[in-house]
């Protein structure tokens, strides 16, 4: 590994891998920093080592990743797996940890392809042992062939909810119920956005197939679910909810929560890139053009980190961002960039066409964004409750950074990844203003932990 590259790509998911491929094709020197052991990101996690049985179970959407990873492996880029980025600076220096050492590299361009993370689902009891994110179950299945034993319930909203439920059922888990919190009103509100493309029909067909798998196994699906609560003292024992009109309580060993995914934007906030609030899906995304350029020179974003658009769109945006990098570094001409990007632009448009519909169909229920019960933990790290935050608001604090100082919400190791969005929502709800007016936590390095030893012995790039 060198210390300087034309392009440093942070993330080895579909966007990062595609960008690496195109950037290498254009002749750029590329370094890809992936956090995981194998390339693939979350959607194609460990696809390289997946057994045929697993690939069959997870379906063609997962299998496609194999080709992409294969092509990535065939490029000439430098690839550092298990590299954890802790700092990115405006002068395009990247600080990361690899094999226990802190290192610095510098690019002439940086591409952030850090993907997505789960939206926090702050329901009462969500910190109990036995309550996990839906993607956690997905990871256990994909990487380790581990599934929930005992009674499992999935709760929340979004495409991944049904997908994971059907995968778990197919893998032999006992899924007792799927509690869908998608508000009924979303169905009507999303209809005008249903694209006429064949593509959407394909998507809907997949959804119906999943529902069939779920129903056939005897799993109950409850709709328009409200007032979700995880109950238990030292671990989750039951889940209580209101669905189809009645309040029920169901015994459970594992409760999996999901309320959509949001951009993993810790780095773009760290760099103070301009962000906009995407109200339909209630998350912040960096302001980018079609090439992924942010407001900061030399910094681009591709894939879900720029806005949730799915794996295929991520791949295409990675190609476009790489072409932009090659053009910006004057390795290709504008004419060549236009020529090469044309098919990608077309594909991107197609891959994104279902998004307005999906985003509105799965618009998060406001009740899951602002915990009404004062005892609900908002900041898992520092155990700050919704009630404590509202109390500080009553005392006159107005913004997330002041609230962080006052309550410690956001001060833990996760640095707001699990509580930042909820914090802004609670403040906006209390002050009766829109979230953009409230703002977000200020993010500072290190964005992943680094020891005093590692920092003090790091060789500075100079």
């Amino acid at each position: 590994m060198k210390t300087r590259y034309d392009l440093i790509i942070i993330g080895a998911g579909p966007a990062g891998m595609a960008a690496a491929e195109t950037a290498a094709d254009c002749g750029l020197s590329v370094l890809v920093l992936g956090e995981d052991r194998l390339p693939g990101g979350q959607v194609y996690r460990d696809v390289e080592q997946a057994e045929p049985g697993l690939i069959k179970l997870l379906g063609p959407d997962y299998e496609e990743g194999k080709t992409l990873v294969g092509r990535f492996r065939g490029t000439s880029v430098d690839y550092a797996p298990e590299a954890v980025v802790w700092e990115v600076e405006p002068d395009l220096t990247v600080g990361f940890l690899a094999q226990g050492d802190a290192r610095q590299v510098r690019g002439r361009r940086i591409l952030i392809a850090s993907g997505a993370r789960e939206r926090p689902v702050p329901i009462p009891g969500w910190t109990l042992p036995g309550v996990m994110a839906v993607t956690a179950a997905d990871i256990l299945l994909k990487s380790h062939g581990i599934i929930p034993a005992g009674d499992t319930v999935l709760a929340g909203s979004g495409p991944l909810l049904l997908q994971t439920a059907s995968r778990l059922i197919d893998s032999g888990a006992s899924v007792r119920a799927v509690l869908d919190t998608t508000p009924f009103s979303n169905h009507l509100a999303s209809l005008p956005y249903l694209p006429k493309a064949l593509f959407a029909a394909d998507y809907l067909r997949k959804g119906l197939a999943m529902k069939r798998v779920i129903r056939r196994s005897g799993t109950m699906i409850y709709r328009n679910v409200k007032r979700l609560e995880a109950l238990g003292s030292n671990f989750v024992e039951s889940v209580r909810f209101t669905g189809n009109g009645t309040t029920r309580e169901m015994k459970v060993n594992t409760l999996l929560l999901h309320n959509g995914v949001v951009p993993e934007n810790q780095i773009t906030f760290l760099l103070a890139c301009a962000h906009e609030w995407y109200d339909v899906q209630r998350y912040w995304r960096p302001v980018v053009d079609i090439w992924g350029n942010t407001s900061m020179p030399g910094i681009g974003v591709a894939g879900d980190a720029a806005g949730i658009s799915g794996a295929k769109a991520a791949e295409v945006s990675g190609h476009l961002a790489a072409l932009e990098a090659a053009f910006a570094l004057r390795v290709i001409s504008e004419a060549e960039k236009d020529l090469k990007s044309a098919p990608f632009k077309k594909r991107l448009s197609r891959e994104r066409s279902v998004r307005p519909f999906l985003d509105r169909l799965f618009r998060p229920d406001p009740d899951l964004l602002v915990p009404r019960d004062d005892h609900t933990v908002v900041c898992r790290c520092e155990e700050v409750t919704a009630g404590q935050i509202r109390k500080a608001l009553e005392l006159g604090t107005t913004g997330p950074n002041q609230l962080k100082s006052q309550t410690r919400c956001g001060m833990g190791p996760c640095q707001g990844r699990m509580c930042g969005l909820t914090l802004s929502e609670i403040i906006a709800d209390y002050r009766k203003v829109a979230v953009p007016e409230v703002g977000y936590l200020r993010i500072r390095p290190p964005i992943k932990p680094i020891t005093v030893e590692q920092l003090s012995t790091m060789r500075l790039i100079g």
């Binding site: 956090e35 052991r37 979350q42 080592q49 954890v84 993370r117 789960e118 910190t127 109990l128 042992p129 036995g130 309550v131 996990m132 994110a133 993607t135 956690a136 990871i139 256990l140 990487s143 380790h144 062939g145 581990i146 599934i147 929930p148 034993a149 005992g150 893998s171 032999g172 030292n234 671990f235 060993n253 594992t254 993993e264 898992r380 790290c381 520092e382 155990e383 833990g412 190791p413 996760c414 990844r417 699990m418 992943k448």
Partner: protein, 98 residues
């Protein structure tokens, strides 16, 4: 409450979890091993001593902190098991080790 879909085959390692020797697949992360082996909790929080298990398994939530080979507060989901590894539940805030 988790289980492995299949009997453990392929390369394995022997680790010690809370002083108990256990053989697990070599490709598992510490978090996966702890869940598959049925540990009811993997840490107690420094603020209130509440019991926690991993939540996200992708390095985001920091709930999976455990002590590995004497070094506290390591993310179990980001660490692969290794032969001879000693894993312990993280109990509250760490100590400073001389």
């Amino acid at each position: 409450m988790f289980k492995r879909r299949y009997d453990v085959k392929g390369p394995t390692v022997t680790v010690t979890i809370e002083d108990k020797e256990i053989t697990v697949p070599a490709s598992e992360t510490v978090a996966a091993a702890l869940l598959a082996e049925g540990f009811a909790y993997t840490r107690t929080t420094p603020v209130s001593g509440a019991l926690r298990t991993p939540y996200c398994l992708m390095g985001t939530c920091f709930d999976c902190l455990v002590e590995i080979d004497g070094i506290p507060n390591q993310q179990a989901c980001q660490t692969r098991v290794r032969d001879g590894m000693r894993i312990k539940i993280q109990k509250g805030a760490r100590d400073i080790e001389s």
